[in-house]
Amino acid sequence: MNTGLSLIFMLAPALVVILVLFAGGLALGFSQSLGYMPIIGAYGFNLDAYLQLIKSPGFVPSLLLTIFISVLATLLAVVLAVATALTLRKRFVGKKIVSFLYQFPLTVPHLVVAVGVLLLVSQSGLMARAAFQVGLISDPAQFPILVFDDLGIGVILVYVWKEVPFIGLIALAVLQSMGNDYEEQARTLGANSWQTFRHVLLPLIIPGILPGSIIIFAYVFSSFEVPFLLGKSYPAMLSVLSYRLYTDVDLDARPQAMAMSILIAVFVLILVLFYRRLSQRILRRSG
């Protein structure tokens, strides 16, 4: 469609911005993680920071917690997104309003959601108060601990609330683009509603929402604001550890902060590759 030269003109500006910022930032970060920090007169190239990190007692629990939270949040978001998309594609009274409400979380910053969830599900939050009013609990301490908890439930709630419409709208777009025909074809060939969903709709939706789910997985794995506000301080998610190290007054902690960020990136990449493999295998089997 386009000549090579015009292609370059169209792509280059965006690519330059991304390359300079991303690759440049990554390279500098990586070199710092190896101990190369001319500002403080450190010119080493070594793996000290990485070794110290991995050996530190908090690392493994943090890693496990991070994996747990990001896997569960992604999974829940995908399941709820598919379920809601299947419903939203039908006609019903009040669809316009419900669709608008559905899109609403897209626009709400994570920070705001975190505040909302905190005020909703903490032990003195709105839900606990409601539980008290109806006599389910007699003391705030009896309400389950959902924020600043061991499993990061509050953190997961925030991400699920926020990301369901993102995946759901992608699923809706996929469903809309394929229309009702495949479904009807399956029905007339003898598939019941569940079988139609399982063997026809799902395999058609999954490839479409795969990239989106990878995006949110990577985001949850590495973002920092929500676990900082709603997470326990020990073990904390890796991103929180990294931020703490980075803002430590002791500049010697800098290489470790960088090393942590690089490690997070490596973990994300590994898990994303694994996730793609897995979902492709599931997809193949579901046909």
Partner: protein, 287 residues
């Protein structure tokens, strides 16, 4: 020819079904969407007007406009932060559109060697955690004198947001028929007229959706702003984070609402593009 008649006719195991179940589930999902979306928002609204509101009261004991008065006063720097956020969001969105639309077109319409690599590069900033990159960029920007400046913040906001614009646009262009443009040329329309009357209407849903994402990413960005802005560039998320961490619920929630309002306004105008027939969200399914 094989005699098909010897097939036993239409044998089928009974498959359990529940006709009423689907309707019930359908309604349940709609109710769940409405309730689920509104739940975390309710405490925000109520808290911002409350003076004292202790457990186990389900409604505030005393209402007050204190939080709103404070937010309105110059002391709180909210007006300043709001303006900063809006300026940054607008500039980032415009830049992402200028950079991202041509890039999306190049990717959506063409197949060329190295395309996978280019796509990978564009996706990388959203898959690879921002922390890993931002710490390196911080060092780079210190050298370039871009830290603590609005321009530096704008640049760094482009990193996580530009990929969204490109993804959405490449999805839109993948469904776009260039022959409409060629038809317009051959009917005597010039380049500009063709763009305005032919290309633009076709890709508008994509531009709107992409811009919405870019703006929202910039609008809710905390960590990049705080690291590059270094406490000098105050935006709403920076302010909110500080208040949330300090634990003044009334002011925090009032700030949350200020933070939400423009996003809702924008969604009011862009909602129909998100789940309409345009399929602009489908772009996330194609990379």
């Amino acid at each position: 020819m094989i005699d098909l008649r010897r097939f036993p006719s239409w044998d089928r195991r009974e498959v359990k079904g529940c006709p009423a179940c689907f309707r019930v589930i359908h309604v349940a999902v709609i109710v769940a969407i409405v309730v689920g979306v509104l739940l975390p928002v309710i405490p925000l609204l109520v808290w911002s007007f409350s003076h004292s509101w202790f457990f186990p009261e389900i409604l505030p004991m005393e209402l007050s406009g204190r939080a709103w008065t404070y937010i309105g006063s110059p002391l709180s720097k909210v007006a300043n932060a709001l303006i900063n956020s809006l300026i940054i969001g607008a500039v980032v969105t415009a830049s992402a559109a200028v950079l991202g639309i041509p890039a999306g077109r190049a990717l959506g319409l063409n197949r060329f060697r190295g395309k996978t690599l280019v796509e990978f590069l564009i996706l990388a900033p959203i898959i690879v955690p921002g922390l890993a990159v931002i710490m390196g960029i911080h060092v780079l920007f210190i050298r370039l004198g871009l830290v603590d400046t609005l321009f530096g913040v704008v640049l760094v906001h482009l990193l996580p947001s530009l990929p969204y614009m490109i993804m959405v646009m490449s999805g839109v262009f993948a469904n776009y028929n260039v022959e409409f443009e060629q038809q317009a040329y051959s009917l005597g329309a010039g380049r500009i007229r063709t763009f305005v009357h032919v290309t633009l209407p076709a890709i508008l849903p994509g531009i709107v959706t992409g811009s919405l994402f870019v703006f929202l990413i910039s609008w809710s960005q905390y960590i990049l702003t705080v690291l590059i802005g270094g406490g000098r560039v105050i935006t709403l998320p920076v302010l909110l984070f500080a208040f949330a961490a300090a634990g003044d619920n009334a002011v925090t929630t009032a700030l949350c609402i200020v933070f939400l309002a423009p996003a809702i306004l924008i969604l009011l105008f862009t909602s129909r593009y998100l789940s309409g027939e345009s399929g602009a969200m489908g772009g996330f399914g194609r990379l």
